[in-house]
């Protein structure tokens, strides 16, 4: 279930952010054009998939998408 949700997060984030389909959970945020809009997209998709509402500060320590996904497992 958790892996399914992680994959759903990845798929939805790629769709919403308009990223290359080769993007994976190990993709580095800095390589994805991480900006304020990407932060907003990540918060919205995370809320949609995990029903957890992150704040922007929680994303500050993340360096790749796996780090964001891991926030659902705290």
């Amino acid at each position: 279930m958790s892996i399914e949700k992680d994959n759903q997060f990845l798929k939805n984030f790629i769709d919403e952010a308009g990223l290359d389909e080769k993007t994976n959970l190990n993709s580095k945020l800095e390589d994805l054009g991480w900006d304020s809009l990407a932060v907003i997209t990540a918060i919205a998709v995370f809320d949609e998939v995990y029903s957890i509402t992150l704040n922007a500060e929680e994303l500050e320590g993340c360096t790749n998408l796996q780090d964001i996904v891991n926030l659902s497992k705290r």
């Binding site: 304020s36 809320d47 704040n55 922007a56």
Partner: protein, 318 residues
Amino acid sequence: MAKILNIASHFPKAKITNEDLNKNFENWTPEKIFNKTGIKNRAKSADGETAADLAIIAAEKVFKLSNISRDQIDMLIFVTQTQNQCLPTSACEIHNHLGLRTGCGAFDVNQGCTGYIYGLFLAKKILDNKSIRNVLLLTGDTYTKIIDENNANVATLFGDGASATIVSSSIPNECIGGFEFGTDGSKSNLLRCDYAGFKKSIKDWDSLFMDGANILTFTLSAVPKAINTYLENTNSSLEDYDFVIMHQANKFILERLYKKLGITDKGIIDLEEYGNTVSSSIPIALEKYINNDNKKVLNILLVGFGVGLSWGVTSIKV
């Protein structure tokens, strides 16, 4: 008993298009701006054209639509955060321009995106006073005057506009429901502007600042809770409402809220031609439902949220 009789809106002539914005923000193509915000155009007030000026024209329009004349208005409420000046209150100047009776009260309300809900609450409570029969509720904001046009976070969203609503007690049935309000002042710094305030000296005034990410967090968390509380307190469910009109912040937020609440079929998104008009966004979206001859009574849930940070919920029958 209170009812919204008519609504009219007014916008400045000049527009800011997505193509205009793209000249300032290379990474934001017109398509990208539209896809994220749902906005194609934003009205922009001219130099010296104020929110009160826009509201006066909206009021003249609503008098043409309504059976209520200006001589029958007993109270004027003007919701704005971009007033003409520190004092006098803009409502008094509007009162003069509209030629309202001297026996008509007038005051401003400093509220933003929740302002229309506050305005309806005040109008309804004022109408409990039997000597008052008609309230003219005006909203208006010119956020383009307090925005740094080089700040994409805000320049892509906000447009100027105003609305005028006549709320009357001259009907036998109650058509404005209960209210739910909330405030999280600990997040007041997420959306702020120093202009026309006294906390800082003029030389230190900053233009509109918006922490979009944390406002999204607040919205996704607070708004569904507020709606659920309202439904519980009014013993109603979302199925009881034909439409839900939330503050038209931007398409991205609205789509998520409507999806989260399971109301994508009845949640209204109406900001393509005006942008986020702050206190006027709800009445602008509501206007078409009020002024049409509806074949049946419509139950509409209204939800404001934003600067404060604040939220408010009510419902109306039209």
